[in-house]
């Protein structure tokens, strides 16, 4: 019974990590411009992240070490330093985009311009990290995050042609705007396969003191939780395809178009639900990325870390998230368009994948860490596939950004 509760909580939690400004925006863009045809990208991204999250959790549960620990210990400082700097930079952009997402939600709710909200949002996030425990952040965000299920409800109530939806699950070539099609596909993959997600998950497993008895729980949470998150993304895509298309919006280039998504289904409450979903999903992600920045640095240099400690017990760790949150608020406070930043940072995330995924191939096959719980043929195959995908994404991102970016 306790395990069951743990699994359901874990599933809900992983949705909190999965659905954030990137997956919502890219799914909405895909739906508006290309109907159901990009559903396959969400499915592919979800399958990839299931494998990576399962491995990150297994690595942490068996070895008591996180993926960041592993990269430093197994590949040495010089290699670690480059992947650290790249990940910190990508995380910084994504975190800024998340703060932007909350700021946009606040603007929609109050009419006060988004740039004024960046610092207050960032301060509130800092307060949560400063005073909160890991459990509070993990579970609080998770339970509030259930509000995003309204997209799935809306998708079903809009009665889409399910045969067309199913057809979208199979990759197809675009009929128009090929560069834009592939750019959105890349962004969707970047939004789904986020390094911060699996890195955070492995730190979370250590914070929650997982051991080998959690391997089954881990598998269930990774599989079901990520599928659940993917389903909500598909919901956003379906709603965007049906609603935005019907209103003659074929391209999402402004956040103010998005509250429209839920109006036909829920009326005024649709507006409220959209604002709440955006705010909660992005705020949760900002908290997780803030923590992840601190985990990454503390683990890489071997400092004491843990969100359940008081700040005075791990001053180095706390300083990292404090500085990160402050810096990440800056671009938004200076008026950078959160939508542009989101799309750009998702593409950069996709391009950075090889750096963080290649280590999986070594770490998950290293008996000193994972013993008999090494990767099997299927998991290794999946890692190799994701690495190959990551390299392709890294190669095509920049040209696509130039020709297909909005």
């Amino acid at each position: 019974m306790k395990k069951l509760l743990e699994i359901s909580l874990g599933i809900v939690t992983s949705v909190g990590g999965f659905l954030e400004v990137g997956s919502m925006t890219t799914a909405a863009q895909a739906g508006a411009t290309f109907g159901f045809t990009l559903i396959w990208a969400i499915l592919l991204g979800t399958i990839c992240i299931i494998f990576l999250v399962e491995m990150a959790g297994r690595f942490a549960a068996v070895s008591g070490h996180t993926i960041a620990d592993g990269i430093r210990e197994r590949f040495g400082f010089n290699t670690f330093l480059w992947s650290l700097l790249a990940t910190l930079l990508v995380n910084f952009m994504v975190m800024s985009a998340e703060i932007g997402g909350v700021a946009i939600a606040a603007e929609l709710a109050t009419g006060i311009g988004f740039q004024w909200w960046a610092l207050p949002v960032s301060f509130l996030a800092w307060l949560f990290l400063w005073k909160g425990t890991f459990g509070l952040i993990e579970k609080g965000v998770a339970i509030l995050g259930l509000v995003t299920l309204c997209f799935v409800v809306a998708a079903v109530m809009l009665k889409p042609e399910w045969r067309q939806v199913a057809a979208g699950a199979i990759p197809s070539l675009p009929e128009h705007d090929a560069a834009s099609y592939w750019f959105i596909a890349v962004s969707i993959l970047g939004a789904s396969i986020s390094p911060y997600l699996f890195m955070f998950y492995s730190s979370g497993a250590v914070e929650d003191q997982w051991d080998k008895t959690y391997l089954g729980t881990n598998r269930a949470i990774a599989g079901l939780g990520m599928s659940f998150g993917g389903t909500i993304s598909v919901g956003v895509l379906i709603v965007a395809a049906l609603v935005l298309g019907a209103h003659g919006i074929s391209q999402v280039d402004d956040y103010h178009q998005l509250p429209l998504l839920l109006l036909p289904t829920f009326g005024f409450w649709g507006f409220v639900l959209f604002v709440a979903s955006l705010a909660i999903a992005c705020f949760g992600a900002a908290l997780e990325i803030g923590l992840q920045q601190a985990y990454l640095v503390a683990q890489g240099f071997g400092w004491t870390w843990g969100e359940d400690r008081k700040p005075r017990e791990d001053p180095g760790f706390c300083s990292v998230y404090t500085v990160s949150l402050l810096l990440a608020a800056m671009p938004i406070a200076l008026g950078l368009d959160p939508l542009k930043l989101t799309i750009f940072s998702m593409a950069v995330t996709a391009a950075s994948l090889p750096l963080t995924v290649v280590p999986f191939l070594f770490l998950l096959n290293d008996e000193r860490y994972v013993g008999e719980h090494r990767n099997g043929v299927i998991s290794n195959g999946a890692v190799i596939f994701i690495i190959a995908l990551g390299f392709v994404l890294a190669m095509v991102t920049i040209p696509l950004q130039t020709f297909g970016g909005s």
């Binding site: 430093r72 210990e73 890489g300 005075r312 001053p315 180095g316």
Partner: protein
């Protein structure tokens, strides 16, 4: 034991299970007519910077002396005889608070973090 594989960059844990850093460097003594012998492990930013090259190493020494004074001009060393266990973690028989390794964290706590309400 393969020093680079089993020792370098591993997590160091002190007597009280406090994570005090990673094995950032190794100190080996070369002896005439005898095999080399490992005498200490090194921790800290100076050692790390030296791994990137001689010049970053000098810059880091300059920076650390500017910030922390002369007594931080050399990397932190833990004698090999203090090492108790070499596994996934390296356990050492040292109390980190009796060393200068955490001086900067203490400074941060006393001067910055500790002054913010709720710390």
């Amino acid at each position: 034991m393969d020093l680079l594989r089993d020792l370098l960059d591993k997590q160091v844990v002190d007597r009280n299970q406090v994570k005090i850093g990673k094995v950032d460097g190794l100190v080996v003594e070369l002896r005439r007519d005898l095999p080399p012998r490992i005498v200490a492990i090194e921790l800290g930013s100076i050692t790390l910077a030296r791994r990137l090259g001689a010049r970053p190493g000098r810059w880091m020494v300059w920076l650390v002396v500017r910030l922390g004074g002369k007594r931080h001009a050399k990397p932190h060393r833990i004698a090999w005889k203090k090492v108790r266990d070499v596994g996934v973690d390296i356990k050492v028989d040292v109390d980190v608070h009796r060393t200068t390794i955490f001086d900067w964290q203490d400074w941060l706590r006393d001067r910055v973090i500790g002054r913010i309400p709720g710390a």
